[in-house]
């Protein structure tokens, strides 16, 4: 499977997914696509995620192995900056700080840089390595994840009778930047742009293209599909939002109904979202819950003063001091090294 295969396979898979609900709705299967599929997807999502998290949580952590990116706590006068304290945390409090930085600000990705080998005639070997600060991936990832999160939160209003005030707040901020009717949300635009950036990066950088699998393209196409259908639905086809809310609220309150007159585009959107949910637990998207379990980040660098116990530690075959002395007793005696079982060299 090469790049072209992985790429087209994923693209076609997502295009094929568009047709399924379209044909389904034409065949009058609204209830199937509007009720059964979303429920199934949600069950698969919940079940899958919980199952995977339990798998991780049940696997023991035999050793405390944080990746230390700052000075360890040693003698009190040894210089430690606030950065050191977070990046080589001495206690749970700082571990939480470190995790917060990772999860909220993508701290490690912020370190990213690009290496370049330049011809450099001043050096006898003729080359010089240069490291560029490279924040594009960090910016792209932040834009992608945060716009996704905001969109997700905005959608909460569809599942509640009256939307909570923070949702309203998010909406008004999100809609603040572009004046139009209906309100244009920047988050949607940012999501599309950042997803396209992530996709292009994968396709154009030869290293990334080489490592990418179908399972890297597929979620990107899927999310692009969701974003595009969402935008089409909202701004172009102008689906009946009251009817949509009736359906979604019905799902949330376990009184599912299928109101009349919602366009096929909505069912396509909903189907793609369902696929994303069902696919989530079995894919790399699990990095989201996974990052919380990352032992190189979520443990304190306090090994030398707080003992870590490994639940499955066992005693392997060992080589004792006496075995060594038995091997070399005579020579040790000659060299004047004290022995446990003394001997007389004369004998």
């Amino acid at each position: 499977m090469n790049f072209i295969h992985a790429y087209y396979f994923s693209l076609f898979a997502v295009v094929a997914l568009l047709f399924i609900p379209y044909l389904g709705v034409r065949a009058g299967l609204e209830a199937f696509f509007g009720i059964i599929i979303p429920y199934l997807a949600f069950i698969a999502f919940l079940g899958g995620v919980i199952n995977q998290i339990l798998k991780w949580a049940r696997t023991p952590v035999p050793y405390r192995v944080p990746t230390t990116c700052g000075q360890n706590k040693t003698l009190p006068w040894v210089k430690r900056t606030i950065r050191d304290k977070f990046e080589n945390p001495e206690s749970m409090l700082y571990v939480i700080g470190r995790m917060f930085m990772e999860i909220v600000f993508f701290r490690s990705l912020f370190r990213n840089m690009r290496m370049e080998l330049r011809p450099w005639q001043k050096y006898p070997e003729g080359g010089k390595l240069i490291y560029w600060s490279n924040k594009w991936l960090w910016i792209g990832a932040l834009a992608f994840h945060y716009s996704f999160l905001i969109i997700l939160l905005r959608h909460l209003r569809l599942f509640m009778e009256t939307s909570p005030s923070f949702v309203n707040l998010i909406e008004s901020v999100d809609g603040f930047f572009i004046l139009s009717t209906p309100t244009t949300y920047v988050s949607g635009i940012i999501l599309l742009i950042s997803a396209i950036y992530l996709l292009l990066r994968r396709m154009l950088d030869i290293k990334l293209r080489y490592i990418s699998l179908a399972s890297d393209y597929f979620p990107l196409f899927l999310i692009l599909g969701i974003g595009i259908t969402g935008i089409l639905m909202r701004y172009f086809y102008r689906v009946d939002m009251v009817a949509v809310k009736e359906l979604t609220l019905g799902l949330a309150t376990f009184h599912p109904t299928i109101p009349d007159g919602i366009g096929a585009i909505f069912y396509i959107h909903l189907f793609l979202v369902s696929v994303l949910f069902a696919y989530f637990p079995f894919s790399k998207l699990m990095h989201m819950p996974g990052v919380f379990f990352s032992v190189t980040r979520n443990m304190a660098g306090n090994n030398r003063w707080v003992r870590h116990v490994n639940p499955w530690e066992y005693t392997p075959i060992l080589f004792s001091y006496m075995e060594q002395e038995d091997l070399y007793r005579k020579q040790m005696k000659k060299a004047g090294i004290p022995l446990e079982k003394d001997i007389d060299l004369e004998e």
């Binding site: 990116c69 990832a141 990334l208 079995f282 190189t296 660098g301 870590h308 530690e313 075959i317 001091y321």
Partner: protein, 540 residues
């Protein structure tokens, strides 16, 4: 020794990945880029499975009949025992942030040396045999069958990773290839695939006491010789002793430091310092090796070797343990020692007998790094130092991977350097501290036959040394790691021949003023001090 192309040729690095997808490419064993297969005798000594003669370039590796089954069982076992392993198999998004962070990729350009792809080699097997999607969708889901070719490829690339953890610093999820490499090598060991350099070192450590195979009496001989040298140069004779019960402190150094130059000068530095202080310490011929060559390829073997330190401390009845300048030794002491072989409740919380400082940070391991110990001495004004005696040395400092990323030990060595010499220059920021570059020969890869890989892997480090050499006239690369002191000389000889390698305690001993010393005209290497150059020129 494999012949290595010249630096100007080696630096022409081709980094365009091949056209075929990586899953279909077989590993091609390039001379100079792999280590030889382990001899059966070591495996027998150590009780490892499937000792036999085989060679990496053979078509038939003489694997056990049911190797696949054994390998997969070992795989499953590790998945169930290490959360790190299971998680790292599941959550990589192939964002590529780690890709150009590995020194082997930077210096060699082989795409399978991108940490992400190195890990994918293992993941492809994981998906195929341990995930539903991989079982169902095969290659589409990034899964592939475990074949002999895949196994060989794993061997090739798991032994082109020095377990330096640099990738893990940059990964947004902290995915650590080093962890996977150790475990992956365990899997290879389970079907009898090991490399000679590691197994010979481990086998020697296990019975004789040190990786160089020096039994206790030979160890003593060597140290006596160092005492002669010290006396000749400084007029002071150190008085170390061996296996002495009732000493206050057990001192454990990496055996590299009493094996070859320039590590030996560091060892002389330790001896002179202890003599200066009149420290009540002893050496042991049983716990004669701080460096742990076992954990490079197996947690269990790491534990078996590490066991000796606590066990000897208990036998001798010391109060606490002092450890020498060594990288992988300190990774083990920090990350594993207490968990493996503790609790060390028979020892006391370390207190410096000279300054009275309590090392509360070493409360449970009861083991103190000699750089902490010395930094504390300097801080408390207990050492009389003449910095100018190091004026012929313009050092930079190499953060060794292990103390850097598996401990976080940055400041103490720098503090000492600032106090024992006048001219110190840091390498560029992106190449030091947690972003430091590996020497290129870590984790047991410093076999002679592996020289080209080592020179390639060491390029980023050497190139940064070149930078400070050109800019500030740096002429010494200082470090706190015995592997560094063994592998940097050939690396720098190749890339930056103007620069020497030096341990911190060698510089300490150069600067240390003894009350009754003879006039110092040379350093420990018998090189003239600044101001005494002329007296020596006649002899040269």
């Amino acid at each position: 020794m494999a012949s290595v192309p010249k630096p100007v040729e080696l630096i022409q690095i081709e980094s365009k990945p091949p056209d075929q997808p990586w899953m279909d490419n077989k590993a091609e064993f390039k001379a100079g880029a792999y280590c030889n297969a382990a001899l059966p005798k070591w495996l027998e000594i150590l009780d490892y499975p499937y000792p036999r003669r085989w060679s990496v370039t053979d078509d038939d590796w003489n694997l056990p009949e049911n190797w696949k089954e054994i390998f997969l069982k070992a795989f499953e076992d590790r998945l169930n025992r290490f959360r790190s392993f299971r998680l790292f198999m599941d959550i990589c998004v192939r964002c590529g942030a780690c890709a150009d962070k590995c020194h082997y990729f930077i210096g060699g350009g082989d795409p399978k040396n991108m940490p992400v792809l190195r890990a994918e080699l293992l993941r492809s097997i994981y998906r195929r045999y341990f995930t539903t999607s991989g079982k169902l969708f095969g290659k589409l889901a990034g899964a592939r069958d475990l074949t002999e070719d895949v196994l060989k490829e794993l061997f090739y690339y798991l032994y082109q990773c020095s377990e330096c953890r640099r990738c893990s610093v940059f990964c947004p999820y902290g995915i650590d290839m080093a962890e996977m490499t150790i475990l992956g090598r365990e899997l290879l060991s389970s079907v009898g695939i090991n490399i000679e350099w590691i197994m010979a070192s481990v086998g020697s450590c296990y019975t004789t006491g040190s990786h160089i195979g020096a039994p206790p009496h030979a160890f003593k001989d060597t140290v006596d010789f160092f005492c002669d040298e010290c006396e000749e140069i400084t007029g002071i004779r150190p008085h170390p002793d061996f296996n002495r019960k009732g000493a206050e402190i057990l001192f454990v150094a990496p055996s590299g430091d009493y094996f070859a130059d320039p590590g030996t000068y560091t060892f002389m530095g330790y001896l002179l310092l202890f003599e200066y202080l009149g420290l009540d310490s002893t050496l042991s011929g049983y716990a004669a090796e701080g460096g742990n060559f076992g954990y490079f390829g197996s947690h269990e073997m790491g534990k078996r070797l590490n066991y000796k330190i606590y066990s000897e401390a208990r036998r001798l009845g010391v109060k606490w343990i002092l450890g020498g300048e060594c990288g992988h030794m300190w990774r083990v002491i920090n990350q594993y020692m207490d968990t493996w072989n503790g609790p060390a409740d028979f020892l006391e919380e370390p207190v410096s007998p000279i300054t009275g400082t309590k090392f509360e940070n070493a409360q449970t391991t009861k083991m103190v790094h000699i750089c902490e110990f010395t930094a504390d001495l300097i801080k408390n004004g207990k050492l009389k130092l003449d910095k100018s005696r190091n004026d012929h040395i313009i050092p930079t400092f190499h953060d060794s991977c292990n103390p850097a990323r598996a401990f976080g030990f940055f400041e103490e060595p720098r503090y000492i350097i600032h106090n024992v010499c006048n001219n110190f220059y840091e390498m560029p920021e992106d190449t030091i501290r947690e972003k430091t570059f590996c020497c290129g020969s870590g984790s047991g890869l410093n076999a002679d036959e592996n020289l080209e890989l080592r020179m390639r892997g060491g390029l980023p480090r050497a190139n940064a040394v070149r930078y400070v050499h050109e800019k500030y006239g740096v002429n010494h690369l200082s470090c706190i790691c015995a592997v560094d002191r063994a592998v940097f000389p050939p690396l720098l000889e190749y890339w930056v021949p103007e620069v020497d390698v030096i341990g911190i305690h060698e510089m300490v001993a150069n600067a240390l003023i003894f009350p009754e010393e003879s006039e110092r005209k040379t350093d420990l290497r018998l090189r003239p001090l600044k101001g005494f150059e002329s007296e020596d020129t006649d002899e040269d």
